[in-house]
């Protein structure tokens, strides 16, 4: 019982924190240099890993697609299948999971360390609101960077899928590209991008909240980081289901 109660209290705290972040996000001063710094940190931190996982995901999709569709003689549709899977689903979800592991955990550790070494108290004592100064730039940056990284993932994935589909599975490149064009629509892209935006906000809010409310020294920061990664991963899949359901359910 105590555990369930703690989870609900946690969730309540998280929601209030998100509200507070939103309220401060629209207040001046807008610290553009901090935003750019965070966007660069997330970009530098995550682009490589997102590109590599994207490439391999696309390659696997092409192999699996070819295996399934060849049975119906439909291997020409593999290109469309790979593209739609990446853009609507795998791009946003895998990117969010990668950003959680790479940048989300780093954010929690950094803010958690600042909390337990009283750097956050010190900032408050200087009449600067730490949510405004520390949390807002990270959340805004992650929300902006996630769709960009998601596009990187999907583009690399499509490239990987093409290489495998055309050069390994020997699907003719003409139909491969044609079916991509006829199957992939603008709504697929907006669906994928809106997921990525939501994931960016959710992942960064969880990461910052865990760090911001960390306590209990180095060990507490470690626990907070673990919690941030676990809950972000769960949240990504739950939010993914909800958004997919709203869109096509």
């Amino acid at each position: 019982m105590g555990r369930i109660r703690a989870v609900f209290e946690d969730f309540g705290g998280q929601v209030l924190f998100a509200g507070e972040t939103l309220a401060w996000a629209v207040r001046p001063p807008f610290r553009l240099e901090l935003l750019l710094h965070q966007a660069a940190a997330i970009g530098v931190g995550s682009t490589f890993i997102v590109a590599v996982t994207g490439l391999f995901s696309g390659m696997v999709l092409a192999l699996q697609g070819n295996y399934a569709m060849r049975q119906f003689g439909a291997e020409g549709y593999v290109g469309g299948f790979v593209a739609i899977s990446l853009v609507r689903e795998l791009g946003p979800v895998f990117t969010a999971l990668m950003v959680t592991g790479r940048s989300g955990s780093a954010i929690t550790t950094e803010l958690g360390t600042m909390r337990v070494t009283e750097q956050i108290d010190a900032m408050e004592s200087m009449a600067v609101n730490p949510v405004h100064y520390l949390v807002v730039p990270r959340v805004v940056a992650a929300t902006l960077m996630m769709p960009i990284l998601s596009v990187v993932f999907s583009a690399m994935g499509y490239l990987g899928g093409y290489l495998i589909g055309v050069y390994v599975s020997l699907i003719p490149p003409g139909p491969y590209l044609d079916h991509t064009k006829s199957m992939l629509d603008v709504p697929d892209m907006t669906h994928g991008l809106s997921k990525a935006v939501m994931f960016g906000a959710v992942v960064s809010l969880i990461a910052t909240y865990r760090g911001y409310s960390a306590s209990g020294g180095a060990r507490g920061v470690g626990d907070a980081t673990t919690q941030a990664v676990v809950w972000s991963s769960v949240a990504i899949l739950v939010v993914d289901y909800l958004l997919t359901f709203i869109s096509i359910g």
Binding site: P29, E110, T113, M114, T117, E118, Q119, D121, A122, M123, E124, S125, M126, A127, V128, N129
Partner: protein, 246 residues
Amino acid sequence: MIRISGLSKAFGDKEVLRGISLDVEEGTTFVVLGASGSGKTVLLKHVIGLLKPDAGTVHVDGMEISALSGRALTEARRVFGMVFQGAALFDSMTVFDNVAFPVRERERRIPHDELLARVIESLRVVDLGEDVLDEWPSQLSGGMRKRVSLARALVANPKIVLYDEPTTGLDPITTNSVDSMIDQAKHRRGVTSMVISHDIASAFRVADRLAVLYDGRIAAQGTPEEVRRSDDPYVQRFLSLWFEKQ
């Protein structure tokens, strides 16, 4: 002025402060003495609203700090500077950016030359030269970190300064210059200071009034002379050990 009345605070079932009342008059220096773990830091954090009391109030210049939150509290903190016991320097910023931080946040359009001059000046007061400007906090010694945090607390010319053990870990000469720094701020700019100290010599040197904290209460409070003559047994024991050595 700072007025603390009936302040109580517990963490779980551990009662740290039990009904503390004291006044710090404007333009004076108030020193808080007490054993390790007696709640001095907890008391100081209430003054700037980093902790909320379970009972009692803290007023600063007539405003009830202990009742404020959010943006109003942030605004109310503009009159303060605070030195943390563990320095609490931002470890992702250089010494320059640390000390410049409170100035930049208050005067967003300050020209760089002027900012640099003010940072150098504040560091000079604590006997640090320009060579430390580009150092990172992790590269400094404990005493240097403490001095940088003193510079950071004073650089924006706050009206009220809270010092949590400003001289712990400093050599006698630097301790002396920190003491005179506190005095100069008082005499030149009418700064109100609240100082937590373990250094009884320096406490009696800088204090206009002082208080000894014991068991969550104030065991004695008054001018240095009054506290010295207090007949509270704890205060006697606390001070006699030190006076014997003189």
